[in-house]
Subunit: 141 residues, 2 copies
């Protein structure tokens, strides 16, 4: 039941972008330094986020990344789905619907997994980047 570093770092990077939204594009180098992350690895996370339309990139010198929408329009769920895949604790309750367990059609355990899934989704979909930037005292740096 762990979120991998992809999801963790991705959320942290997006928070940084939200915090410095007004300052124009921010380079991978700067984001990585602010969060103590590897440049190359962070690069691998921003690529899918860009393809998913959550951030936009500007190439060339003084380029970098900025949010593709306002902070209140981007949720933690959006980020985690891109970097972690389906937010379901087991395959058989992924959406769009995976098949039932092959062993028996009425699987009592399945209801548990579905409830966990719904519960997690409700949490992450209800938290926007704006919420996170506001709740934290504005971080300097």
């Amino acid at each position: 039941m762990k979120i991998s570093t992809r999801g963790q770092y991705g959320v942290r990077a997006m928070i940084v972008l939200a915090q410095h939204e007004a300052e124009g594009p921010m380079s991978i180098k700067v984001i990585a330094a602010k969060q103590g992350l590897s440049h190359s690895y962070l690069e691998q996370l921003l690529a899918p986020l860009r393809r998913a339309g959550l951030v936009r990139s500007v190439r060339g010198p003084v380029g970098g990344y900025h949010l593709a929408a306002r902070p209140e329009e981007i949720t933690v769920g959006d980020i985690l789905r891109v970097l972690e895949g389906p937010l379901a604790p087991v395959e058989c309750v992924e959406e769009p619907s995976q098949g039932l367990c092959d062993y028996e059609s009425a699987c009592p355990a399945r209801t548990v997994w579905a409830k966990i899934r719904d519960s997690v989704q409700e949490v992450v979909d209800s938290i926007s980047l704006k919420d996170l930037v506001e709740s934290s005292g504005q971080v300097e740096g």
Copy 2:
């Protein structure tokens, strides 16, 4: 964000034990057959469940396992904590308290992880084996 097969199989095995509670100890062989699991692997899951006091074993011929408490007293959370470890999406929000992130003391992302943790725990701690046995049509077999 996945639950490993340990947790999945463990919950399924415990449901089987709850369903046949009245019939005396059930052997690993029978449980494994009912759920289509490997005998050896299931054996590895029942050992920690026994040490944690969730099941009791009876040795010798016609031995096997049975629940150590009534189905309404054993929750899915109890089972998952034994087989999956702490029910926290990232280390820094595990209980008893792990240290904060080493990078900055005020980590906005941390509040997200804590909410996910609480949400998952509330779900799994509120579902007992009794709930699962009742909700499913009584499975024959």
